[in-house]
């Protein structure tokens, strides 16, 4: 019936989605390895009410037509893969990636997931696992009698054992990278999954080619910028208010017709 009502409704929907994204970013301001998202908007298709250049008579044409947009659409929530700040924890199994790449985690269903969260621990049988108990890939077994564990910037894991002055290398942590990391699907629990949009995982050694280096004893903080999110929140709220104003105006116009005719 009345286009303005529906057009303004798309505006309200879009701003609501944006606020959800902002809230999620703010809620994860202290989540290790969290990457903030942003909502991407696009104007919807235009309706040609009157075609420009249409004939108004035998000799005359319309100089400009009437095209009415149909509102706005949320096309995507895009993860922004910027480096978060590194926090020193001095915990020997905490790792941060400085640069590109993801840790590979084996999920209980047998699929690989990817994460920037480097909070690892040892399981009862000496495997390096994340806080949910999922194993870091490739598997690394830390011997029970290890005195200390050292993880190099290139992912080499070595342990020193009693009675042996030379540290023994027990494995190498490998990272995965994607052509389009923004295309990864968030699985929750700080894990991301491969999709057609991200491209296939490219596995490599840290600190080589495009891969970032590992930093032992550090964690990567969330990359949420609180001030930016708050500014976005103000903007979203005001845009929401304006669109609801457009709805009430269109409503009043129709109400006036109903009351007066």
């Amino acid at each position: 019936m009345a286009e303005p009502l529906w057009i303004a409704k798309t505006g309200l929907d879009a701003q609501k989605n944006r606020l959800s994204t902002i809230s999620n970013n703010l809620a994860n301001v202290n989540t290790t390895g969290f990457k903030r998202s942003r909502t991407v908007f696009e104007d919807l298709i235009y309706q040609n009410v009157r075609q420009p250049g249409g004939q108004t008579s035998q000799e005359t044409i319309l100089p400009s037509g009437l095209q009415i947009g149909t509102g706005v659409k949320t096309v995507a929530t895009q993860k922004i893969h910027q480096q978060g700040s590194l926090l020193q924890t001095e915990n020997k199994f905490d790792m941060a990636i400085e640069g590109r790449g993801f840790f590979q985690i084996l999920q209980p269903n047998g699929n690989l997931a990817y994460t920037r969260n480097g909070e690892f621990q040892l399981s009862a049988d000496g495997q390096i696992v994340n806080s949910n108990g999922y194993r870091l890939q490739p598997d690394i077994n830390v011997p029970q009698n290890a005195l200390s564990v050292t993880i190099g910037i290139d992912g080499t894991v070595s342990v020193s054992q009693p009675g042996n002055p030379i540290p023994a290398q027990i494995g190498t942590i490998q990272l995965a990278d994607f052509v389009n990391p923004s295309g990864l699907q968030a699985l929750g629990g700080n894990l991301l999954g491969e999709t057609a949009a991200s491209g296939a995982a490219i596995i490599g050694t840290p600190d080589s080619l495009s891969f970032g280096s590992l930093v032992q004893g550090s964690l990567e903080g969330s990359n949420v910028n609180v001030v930016e999110e708050l500014v976005n929140m103000i903007e979203t709220q005001r845009a929401y208010e304006m669109n609801s104003k457009a709805i009430s105006t269109a409503d009043q116009m129709l109400q006036y017709v109903n009351n007066n005719l």
């Binding site: 908007f41 104007d43 009415i68 096309v75 389009n180 295309g183 491209g199 007066n260």
Partner: protein, 246 residues
Amino acid sequence: MDRMLYVAMSGAKQNMLAQAHNANNMANVSTTGFKSDLAAARSMPLFGNGLPTRVFSMTERAGTDFNPGSIQTTARKLDIAIKGDGFIAVQGKDGNEAYTRAGGLRVSATGILETEQGLAVIGDNGPITVPQAKRVEIGLDGTVSAISQTKGAEVSNAVGRIKLVNPDLKTVAKGNDGLFHLDDDEIAQADANVQVVSGALEGSNVNVATEMVNMIELARQFEMQVKMMKVAEKNDEYASRLLTLG
């Protein structure tokens, strides 16, 4: 019965269309690179038998407001905003070259540089393919470089240059897909003077205060048209009352 009722009705209808226009601008207040549409009304005299006394109004989209929107810094390397005039050339959904100011770019799974809507960005020689790299940077003139690392030393490789154009705005119109097209689907020449800033996006150029004032104005105009319809009804009523008395 007098045709005044129809003239007033067409006025109210056109006001409603203009209001839809306005609502669309307001809905796109946070769409990256959105350019607001200008609405205008034009009088259309009706020629027929007798004198052309009836003049209908007609709402038109007179054009697009090409004023730049505010620049928002995002610090993301693949976000670009155009300094001053100009457009980024992309491949529209119909395969033809189209132009946009929304510079939030990304690399697709197949390595093609594309916009957030999934449209390939056009370079000097067609779409730009970005290889696996440590970092991708976009220079002032739209040159895309992939930075790779070998043994600690960074090597920068230029992989293409985004086609930036600056056609005469008189020939640019917004298509139904929201992208800009040249008249008769012509292709604009690359312009070396157009510059981009990396790490920033251009916001929507919708002026909220103007749109709000327009909205109030249109709502009141609409009420006046309805009032005229009411008057037409009254006139008619009095005329028939006269006849019944006689």
